[in-house]
Amino acid sequence: MGSVVIKGRFPGRRRLLVVVMRNAGRYLFQGALRNWLRNLGGTAPALGSMTLLLLLSGLVGMSGFAMRNLAVSEAHDASLLHVYLRDDAADDQITALRARIEADHRVASVGYTTKAEALARAQRRPGLPELVDATDSNPFPASLDVQVKQVSDVGAIDALVRDDPAVDPGYPTSYDRGAYQRIQQVMLGAAIAGAAFLLLLGFVAVTVTANSIRSAIHARRDEVTIMQLVGAPRWMVRGPFVIEGALTGGLAGLLAGIVTLLISLALIAAGAGSFAQVAPGVTVEVAVVAALLVFAVGIALGSGSSLFSLRRHLES
């Protein structure tokens, strides 16, 4: 041998940190970015399927959020019973009815809505202003608004009041037997269908991404073999592939997040008042949070798919 190889001394703590950061940047991030760009063609199917999955996840998530708000609203509405009063009902008849209702232990509170207030409320609801304008008189009755403690007691309160002389015999109350349960069933069905659809798409996206990482592993087999044989730690060997997966997922999440945000903003802007009824609670802030979540899920999904592939194809 011409000379002896002597191990050098390690630098100071601050410089050591700089050295570690520089080496990590070069071998983990820079290497991953270079290979990811080189294999972009092979990554395209994974990118496409993941973008589609995340976009649909974002939109389904927004729909789910709106449906949850709707369910809360429906639960509240279902326990609020409107008792419609005859137009010619005398004040003492109304007072007597109100007193009878308030005396019932199943009732939380009772409010009173005049005909004018009913008309004003109707005018704020989508589609009803045209109906109101079509007639000269006020078609909306005054009502006692009964907040029942338990949804299950609404039917009993309805039976208690519907034959009262102060109550409109043609359309006595707002009670609709089974309406709340029907809404709950529809929502449950929609949630199950949405979850199954997303699971299927998720499986496809994870499989396609894992395959693209497998291709990347095979393309860099020599480099990986050398790293393993010289004793590079496992995270050093696997890290670049995980980052490649995160890049794919992150880009897919970014694209899907932007599209989700744009669609939500467009719907909010176009729908204005009626949209708030169709998708209650969906605001600009909610849309931004949803877009950020889609982006974060993309990174997690890409990294996770990559790890899944590494476990199968890169054991030492």
């Binding site: 000379s3 002896v4 190889v5 002597i6 393993q228 044989l229 010289v230 730690p233 496992r234 030492s316």
Partner: protein
């Protein structure tokens, strides 16, 4: 109980008892399929033994978890017949790469200095900037040796390191391996090159059908046992 490794019903190495001393240069010979590469893979923990124990520099290679394998491999330099250099890196970068991916604390300057030292040690101090395709087979193998010893492992294993080289270059590589052993590193060389094994007069292990049939001490000249089967 010695070390045994089976692949299904086929036994690759069977009941091997073996110990190597520091600074020893040992040749591992035998016909193709005798189990030489399997034995090297067992030492480097590329595979686990079916039964038996493999200890490398105090580490139990036979029971190491996957997370600990890297630690063992930093104690074992490896040289292959086909060099396994990264074509997009220069000779110096290939050596420095091996240093830095095993220890991120090594700066570029230190990696360069130690890489150049290693290349000088193998006689390639002036070819650090050359890419593998610009080097001859012998020079590429020297770079591979430099990469294997740059972190000063206590053990160097070489699988047919002269298999792709002409006679003169094969002798140069063998001399290099001998120099490395003289500096205290244990060197285990699997080879088919009978001429080199005979003339070096070092310890010779002979494997036939997965069994260690002969362990000839250094300084003894004898007929190579496996020649009868080859």
């Amino acid at each position: 109980m010695g070390v045994t490794r089976s692949y299904g019903s086929r036994v690759a190495v069977e009941d091997i008892h073996l110990g190597l001393d520091p600074g020893e240069l040992v040749f591992l010979v035998g016909p193709s399929g005798a189990g030489k590469t399997t034995l090297l893979k067992l030492i480097n923990r590329e595979i686990r033994p079916t039964c038996g124990e493999v200890w490398v520099d105090g580490m139990p290679a036979h029971e190491l978890s996957a997370a600990k394998v890297a630690e063992l491999r930093r104690r074992v330099g490896v040289v292959f017949q086909d060099y396994k250099l990264l074509p997009r890196l220069t000779a110096l970068e290939n050596v420095a790469f091996a240093l830095q991916v095993t220890d991120l604390r090594i700066s570029d300057e230190e990696a360069r200095d130690r890489g150049l030292d290693a290349l000088e040690a193998v006689g390639l101090g002036d070819r650090g900037d050359a890419f593998p395709h610009q080097l001859s087979g012998g020079q590429q193998q020297r770079v591979a040796v430099a990469r294997a010893v740059v972190s000063q492992p206590p053990l160097l294993i070489a699988d047919e390191p002269t298999g792709n080289l002409d006679v003169e270059t094969a002798w140069q590589i063998t001399d290099l391996l001998e120099d490395i052993a003289n500096f205290g590193t244990t060197v285990l060389v699997a080879t088919h090159n009978v001429e080199i094994v005979k003339r070096m007069q070092r310890r010779v292990l002979t494997l036939v059908d997965g069994r260690l049939v002969r362990d000839q001490p250094a300084g003894r000249v004898g007929r190579l046992a496996w020649a009868a089967w080859s």
